[in-house]
Point group: C2
Chain length 199, copies 2
């Protein structure tokens, strides 16, 4: 027995999301069909609107609905501190610790020669320019604790050191091979406290 075409399309739509297997996709699809029409349209609108409105901050490449993100618009932050993260979502993990009050720089990825992701794709030259121009004293590299994240951290450290800036790596309290997104607040706090100079 086969699902009707639009149920199949709905299941396939859910399957495209990360961590959603065939069974979950099926369950979500049937749940959608059990909701009121207005609720479903509401969800669909939330998807399209978010994608339409949200763009990258022109300064740090965090996600925002304005020219500058809410962090870059905040003048009370420490302009001497810059934290480099792989993804915009990582900012929220760090912000939740309440231990960092500098600014961020979102790479939107990590170096990966196999996937053709080099320094250009991660806007590392823009990062170095900011470090040079904006009186930054300390750069904390909070890329993921895995091969790509470490390689990216090392590359940035090598490039930034000649600029006379202190380059730090978040501490390993994070489980190696893990993903920053899933870190709990305490582990993330420890990692911030235990940061060390890379070279």
């Amino acid at each position: 027995m086969i699902f009707s075409p639009s149920i199949t399309r709905l299941i396939e739509a859910f399957r495209r999301l990360p961590g959603i297997g065939p069974k979950t996709a099926q369950r979500l699809a049937f749940f959608i069909l059990s909701m009121r029409k207005e609720e479903v349209e509401d969800i669909a609108r939330a998807l399209v609107e978010a994608k339409k409105k949200v763009r990258q901050c022109s300064r740090c490449f965090n996600l925002t609905e304005q020219e500058l993100c809410s962090i870059c618009r905040d003048p009370r932050r420490d302009a001497g501190l810059l934290c480099v993260v792989q993804e915009a979502r990582d900012i929220y993990v760090i912000e939740k610790t309440g231990q960092f009050n500098g600014y961020y720089f979102v790479l939107h990825g990590a170096l990966s020669p196999l996937e053709g992701i080099g320094p250009e794709e991660l806007k590392i030259s823009t990062l170095l320019q900011q470090i040079r121009q904006e009186k930054i004293k300390e750069v904390i590299i909070a890329t993921n604790p895995n091969v790509e994240g470490d390689a990216t951290a090392f590359y940035i450290a090598e490039s930034a050191r000649p600029l006379g800036v202190k380059v730090m790596r978040i501490g390993f309290g994070l489980p190696v091979g893990g993903d920053l997104e899933y870190a709990d607040e305490l582990t993330m706090s420890r990692a911030l406290e235990a940061r060390r100079e890379i070279l």
Copy 2:
């Protein structure tokens, strides 16, 4: 730090789905924002279209895009057999066994006096009418093995028996491939009750 309004709405949209906690909702939201605009619109369209096109089969209340569902349209099935299920998705679980070739009746719920769900809400009078008119010989009740499902099965059995039809309940016991050590008392009780002679 707060997410931007449309990111918040997107996270809240995912939170409305079953089994999606705050972390998963956040992860899915950021994934959506990382997708191409066309892909997101595609998913949104799949939601709205499915909800618009899919309705209940006028005969068995399964989900379909036509007047009758694909099972009710199939004349090769055994018209003497009717399987009663709580939800449309349960049909797919039974169909996958390839062991049932009768028709279905979807209650879209189970009796629950506390939630105000009585026989009327489950269209049980329509079910009884079909049993009476359509030469059904055997009704298999496949509602869930819990208080509501059992009560519903009992209610249908009591109502259908006077119509001279054989009313059956699906078998309960240990799940195949399971381990006796981990069986809960209720399942074990049911398994003992349902014992059969080996040869």
